[in-house]
Amino acid sequence: MDGQTRLGMLHRLLVLFWPPPQTESVILSPLSFSIYRGHKIQHSDWHKEPLRIMDPECSRLLPALCAVLADPRQPVADDTCLEKLLDWFKKVTEAESSLLLLQENPCLVELLSHVLRPQDVSPRVLSFSLRLAGTFAAQEDCFQYLQQGDLLLGLFGEAGTLGWAAWNVPTVRSGWIQGLSSLAQHPSALHFLADSGAVDTVFSLQGDPSLFVASAASQLLVHILALSMHGEAVEHHSPQGSAWPTCAQKIVGHVEESLRSTAAPQVTQALNVLTTTFGRCHSPWTEVLWEQLSPLVACLLERDPIPAGHSLVDLLLSVARSPVFSSADCGLWETVAQTLSRLSPTQAGPLALGTLKLQHCPQALRTQAFGILLQPLACVLKATTQAPTSPGLLDGTLGGSMTVDALLSSKSACAGLLCQTLAQLEELHPLPHRPSPWPQASLLEAVVTILQLCDGSAAPGSSVGGRLCGTLAGCVRVQRAALDFLGTLSQGTSPQELVPQVFAVLLEYLESPDSSPTVLKKAFQATLGWLLSSPKTPGCSDFGPHIPLFLGELFPVLQKRLCSPCWEVRDSALEFFTNLSRHWGEAPTLTQQLLRDPESYVRASAVTAMAQLSSQGLHATLASPEHPEAEQGLLREFLNILSADSEGFPRRAVVQVFTQWLRDGHAEVARDTEQFVATVLQVVSQDLDWEVRVQGLELAQVFLTQKLGQPGHCPYTVALPEAPLPRLRPEVLRTLCQPWLLEFAFRALFDCDRPVAQKACNLLLFLRDKTAPYAGTQETGDSPHLDSMEAALQRWQAGEQGQPLGDPEPEAMLAVLRSLDLEGLQGRLAESSDHVEKSPQSLLQDMLATVDILEENEADCY
């Protein structure tokens, strides 16, 4: 048996039996490993071609599968198989005629008929069959075909599934609804729905105990409504509701009745149906629908308490967003305004935010909505007797008492309302059409006050303030939301006199021993935002006038945080410091010690921080008598981490830093770049972490790019007139073909982790393309180097990693490079590792095989 056949067999064996070791790993088959001098032999790659949707093999397997499904003694163990099967049938019916499919595969109809005998079928299969029937019946001719045998009526009619015991299983009800949703695509289906009484069942399913079923029922109603209106004259002429099709009238009537109901759940159901309707359907008839129903919706506002507040908000926003209403004056804005004033602050908030995000809403309403959004903050400011700096925006009195009540009712209500308000304002802040004028100063004051209330440093001037102080003291949720918002506010022009207050409160949080790690992280983020957005002043400092003073106080705090017993704190402090040091040159002396932190995340952050310092030339300042190793060069320290650290994060950080250093021409690297890259790649190639290896390939890529220039196949580069390619100098070629570089890349090509192999493949492609002109001029003949290289590569692919590449000539290297089918490999690597298992044939086989195994087990039992 010659080598090629052997490898070919190996290939097939791997394809068939190699279980993927992990989802992201590659099946070791793709490299068509036949290196023959000067030409490539391609393996048949049948699995690269798109599989026929319903190929004869699948057709052959279907009857057996249907038999299995119909057989109650052979339960389907894994219902994800059924989902996959359904997906496949959907794909098939999208491409082919369902009718043809059923006629060619009568077993499918048999299966559907079989499930009409409910006692024999598991709920799982029943649900599947209902959905399958719906999928087929989506095509009108197929629908008619199935109707002939009353199959659909049996499955979906009142005499069918509804009466069965299995109806109590939510999956079956869900399958019933989904089946109906699928089949409701054509006028025949509409008649069927009307005649079969299915719509009434859908009404009742809106209140189903299973939320999935209830939600699907609502969606189905909207679907049916839209379908019945579709294609009718009403779609374009929008006559009054009384002229609508019966089915639509029935649904609208039901919604109207629900809206009049005193039971909140029914009102919610009706509002949800309407919300979906206006969200999905943007035909003129929806305007008629709103005209007809809006008085009923307005009536809801007169009830006390208002039922289904959240759903009401959703509905109003859905209507307001619909393009149908963009120009029409249909009383919508009055209803929104009324709702805003009637709802509780917590419920009104989302409506106010939604309103403010609308492009075409009247200014008065925007003002009202913004007032409501600002109300809680106005209350906070009022309670702490700080007069807002921009009057008229934060001193609204409308609904103030309701907001105060909400704030004081309980700790959770207070925190909830404030967090919601802060998050909403944060969302609004970057929008181009946010309310104008934007009360930046008042918002800043309010958020600073909230932060002070939370840490007990505020001085409340009223009893409300005192109670707020007690309620908010130590409330981490509010602290986080307020710090987030404070950070966002840094992106704006703030009055200079407020900036010291902001820095003071930030410093309080950074200093406080009671700040939880998450709060501290947010405080660091907000601080960075304020530091970087601070107006730059021309002169020695990069920062504004407040900054040097603040940094002077911040530094001891940062030092202390770097010593925190809590690793999250050390990590966020380091991260903050790394970001800060890009703009400001001072180094906490402790950073280097954190390279030996017990927590790997902290070590990784320390690596980044130290690299940052080193890039800024600050590393030398860290050298201290206690730590002589600092003087011995950071490079050695990093290499030590790369080769010895037990966790992946620090090692990944080191390779990233090295790559960056190589890009930037860092002094440590520039001294002897080749030696540097060689050393790093040698260590990286031994690493067990695939991300480290990918990073190593990135480093190699940067190295090659620097030697050879940018890759030429970038799709975004403008093609310049072809210039004659400069000849590669032999010494460059020799550098590129250094065994340490190519050996690393070739080994990575056989890596069991797909991303590594992909990256290596791209790297080698780049190298091959760049060296192609050079190689073209050379004749690659037989050489002992080439033989030994091929032998080595074959062993590597076979999993024997021991043998080194030796020290081949560059020409031999390039010959090997050219002999590989790298493009083919690249294509195959791009496919996910389970592409073979994903084929429908494999799915059908699997399902059948599972049953066989179950049968065997059963036999074993006896």
Partner: protein
Amino acid sequence: MLDCGLDMTSTLNFLPLPLVQSPRLSNLPGWSLKDGNAFLDKELKECSGHVFVDSVPEFCLPETELIDLSTVDVILISNYHCMMALPYITEHTGFTGTVYATEPTVQIGRLLMEELVNFIERVPKAQSASLWKNKDIQRLLPSPLKDAVEVSTWRRCYTMQEVNSALSKIQLVGYSQKIELFGAVQVTPLSSGYALGSSNWIIQSHYEKVSYVSGSSLLTTHPQPMDQASLKNSDVLVLTGLTQIPTANPDGMVGEFCSNLALTVRNGGNVLVPCYPSGVIYDLLECLYQYIDSAGLSNIPFYFISPVANSSLEFSQIFAEWLCHNKQSKVYLPEPPFPHAELIQTNKLKHYPSIHGDFSNDFRQPCVVFTGHPSLRFGDVVHFMELWGKSSLNTVIFTEPDFSYLEALAPYQPLAMKCIYCPIDTRLNFIQVSKLLKEVQPLHVVCPEQYTQPPPAQSHRMDLMIDCQPPAMSYRRADVLALPFKRRYEKIEIMPELADSLVPMEIKPGISLATVSAVLHTKDNKHVLQPPPRPAQPTSGKKRKQRVSEDVPDCQVLKPLLSGSIPVEQFVQTLEKHGFSDIKVEDTAKGHIVLLQEAETLIQIEEDSTHIICDNDEMLRVRLRDLVLKFLQKF
């Protein structure tokens, strides 16, 4: 008497007692009055604008004027910090009662007292200042000396002999043990979760229950967790010993402690932790045990210097039953419950009785020193303050909340070393108190006045006070409070033979009554019903019989007792059935009057009496009476 703590803040008015001669302290200038009069300059010294008494430190004793302590029968101790005044009470007031405390409380309390005595006795001071205490002179002194209260009652430290004698009067008790006090009440210690052996006390009679909650903690530290369930159903809950620093969260403070410690040591400085030899130090050592490796402090020596350091570290390991569950289970592995054993084994933690001797040979810097006393007025800490105070590389970290760190540092000014205040007080804060009160639901809460209002420095923090319904009763120094309950019932036991003779009758479902004739015997606040002595046998002599009948009240045949009520309508029907006619019923304020007009008879029915009024017709009366009795139950 509930607890007898010692107010040691008085010592802050005194100059520190250095272990070795301190030129700085001995050269402090004497203080003179504004007019230049320097007659006090031997007693009072001035340091950085503060005036200190140059004398042996003195302590402020518990109130002795209000109550004659010789009349106190029992002292209940809740934790070792609350017994430091015991020798003053038991040895100098004529006290003859009993003291109750748990074993760890006594053992660790002894260590604290021993340390205190040792600290003060080993640096004898010839001078004892008393002139400044004269009320007329005290008025002229600057604050805080001017405002010090009851200075005349301040006393020097007790001796070891007095300590031993005082401790010998303590009766050891265990958690949940019921101790009868003169039959009047029963007291029970419960775990309070604050320190080894720390207790809350339940004082209860049969119908009343008072809980004394002092120095409790709901945090998970080394002691057994707090027993809350047993505090339920209290009539009164006396609440004291809450955290002194309600705004400082112990977890945050421990983090702050570790960060500052590491920061100092990494910068080449030394860390001084003034502390008590027991309590929080165990938790700190445990935190450091987990922290030092991660912070790269493995090579930094930790020194624990106290005359009782060794005993404290070892005692902590043997009180397994008083520890939290986690630590208890370690004992069965078997492992020492506290990880400081391992620190000692690996030589990371070393302990010494004092700076003299071995310590001076082993001493290596930079290092971390735990030593007393937290007041910085005596103990080895004085030496380290003098030694390290001049360098800003060093740090003193205050963890004990009992003393104001600024006042403690006053005689060391000017001071270059950094000062960090990380008070770690694990006792209940106000949030935990309101949770506890919600859980336990006492009818009334009694607490010091300070807890019922926000701290003066943070008057807006309405969350930093006790908020309960009904509002807590507060007391201040020397207030006399009447606890809001009355003793209404006493429990009486019935002797079995007497109980046997009773014949209960069920008058309502579930309620039976019986009449009892017995002799009530009361002794030691216990009441027992005994069977009455039998009448003398007829065979005995006449004289004797007479005497017996004199002693014992005649047991006459008693008429049956009646109960129940008479339904008027049915009664009238019955009367009619029995031939009475012309019956009229009138309603009165208290009941009804049934008029038998024909018989000229009147039956007055009220809630608790029925009268039959008829003219000299006994037959009729008896008939009517029997009809009435039919409606009533007899026994």
